[in-house]
């Protein structure tokens, strides 16, 4: 469905992937089946779907935090495992996962430390990233001194510290209030545009998925699979006004109907949505 023109050096190429949990046991779960997806360089792709559709599982397969039961995942032309070892991506989670015993700057330096960078280089890069996320004065603060939105910005700075080409995000704004969320979305777009990063972004929020992405991948559960891919043809220059444009609402509606279609078919099958 998706891979007609995929180039092996695309940042993310997923082919025929299946993920089964507890295979062979009575509580076997088909978390993902028949996943084919290609993400092009510099593209922003959102994954959205109801609970249990496997979007977070898919993200973790890309990150090599889980391994597929079948199929292949190629990151930058390498296996997902090699990509993780080579640190080709940065990841951000719903909890910022900042280390409370390290200052903001030292938190950002963490992946660089693990790569063996020397102190001066690390510090310079951390300062650069703080400028990028607009928090330069907070380098020597501790995480608990920052608000939730600021902590997530630091987490994003950390994810991008080693300048990976690929950013994987699992509902990073889920714990924030709506206003902060919208602000963070705009910031994320700005940062990724500046760095030319490819992004795979998991979310629960339809407006968020549409506002951020070039393409919205709609998934459905039981078994987890890709149902539709919505092309968000709104151009890359998005701002606050974009949220009020009719084109935006049109795309949001398109995604919502795709999701409702899933909901209805689940009901028809007599399955309760949890």
């Amino acid at each position: 469905m998706e891979n007609s023109m995929s180039n092996p050096n695309d940042p993310v190429v997923i082919a025929g992937v299946r993920k089964i949990f507890n295979q062979g046991k009575p509580n076997q779960v088909d978390a993902l089946i028949d996943i084919d997806l290609t993400v092009r360089a510099g593209e922003f792709v959102s994954l959205i779907g109801p609970s249990g559709c496997g979007k977070s599982t898919l993200l973790r397969l890309i990150a090599d935090l889980l391994q597929p039961s079948a199929g292949t995942i190629t990151i930058n032309g390498k296996s997902a495992h090699q990509a993780r070892v080579d640190q080709d991506y940065g990841m951000a989670f719903q909890q910022s996962g900042l280390f409370e015993w390290r200052t903001v700057a030292r938190n950002i330096e963490l992946p660089l430390e693990l790569k063996g960078w020397d102190k001066a280089k690390r510090r310079a890069r951390a300062v650069e990233m703080l400028e990028l996320v607009k928090l330069p004065e907070f380098a020597d603060h501790y995480p608990w001194q920052l608000s939730g939105g600021m902590q997530q910005r630091v987490a994003i700075a950390r994810a991008l510290a080693a300048h990976p080409g690929l950013l994987l995000m699992d509902e990073p704004f889920g714990a924030l209030d709506e206003m902060t969320r919208e602000h963070m979305q705009a910031e994320l777009l700005r940062i990724c545009a500046a760095a030319g990063t490819t992004v795979v972004f998991v979310t629960h929020s339809i407006p968020e998925a549409v506002y951020l992405a070039d393409r919205v991948v709609v998934m459905s559960p039981r078994p987890g699979r890709i149902t539709t891919v919505v092309d968000v043809a709104l151009g890359r220059d998005r701002d606050e006004l974009t949220r009020e444009a009719s084109g935006f609402f049109g795309k949001v509606t398109e995604v919502r109907e795709a999701l409702r279609g899933i909901e209805l078919s689940l009901e028809a099958r007599g399955i309760e949505d949890r």
């Binding site: 935090l65 993780r84 991506y89 990841m91 996962g97 280390f99 015993w101 693990l114 608990w144």
Partner: protein
Amino acid sequence: MTTVERVRRAVALVLPPLLLGVVFLVAWQSWINISHVQPYVVPRPSEIWTSFVNDFELVRRASVVTGMNALVGLVLGSLFGFGIAVLTNRFEVASELVNPLAITIAAVPAVVIVGVLNNMYSLDSQIPRRIMVTISVFFVVFVQVVKGLRQNDATQMELMRSYAATPRQTLRKVRLPNTMPFFFTGVRTAAPLALIIALVSEYFGGTQDGLGSKISGTLSGSNKALGFAYVLGGALVGLIFFAGSNLLEYLVVPWRRRTRSR
């Protein structure tokens, strides 16, 4: 908060316990004056203070003996507790074996082992008491550190995996810092315990120049004021240990200053 509000708040916090303490002391002093109780039964607070000041050297010497036993045991027990917990961290069996011992030591009057230990060493040795304190402290700290090592922040662990970090790197950079608050909870709990064990250990024989034996001896005799002076000395040593362990925690685990939820 304005300065006036701050002062008012400080006063509200300090005044009630201070008042309670003063009332208690005054009542004590008056009761003795009124009822003509002899000082060899219960001394007046004023007599206690006089004795404390006059016999300070005696109190100090006894406090040092017991205090040193407690300190040596506290330090050794904490180090062993931490070290062995980290070393055996990989082996679930180790903590499964140590836990029953920890529970037993906590539930039974373990200090009676000192009687056994005294037999194994010469009469003038402080080693049996120090061993006793070390054992008591070890189990407290061990249990806490194991608990801390077991707490794994899921997000932080996933993050480290996404970095392809080795288990050793994960241990050093994530799990050990996360364990420090637990370690210090253990040390804070063990500090007063160390002193109590050091004190009570002296009841079982051996040298009689520590606080425990002095208190027991003088309180059974007629110079009760001196006995209480020794008790006051013991209380002061206890407070020093309490303050010391809190200060250490404050210095080493600064990120916990804000949130003390654990």
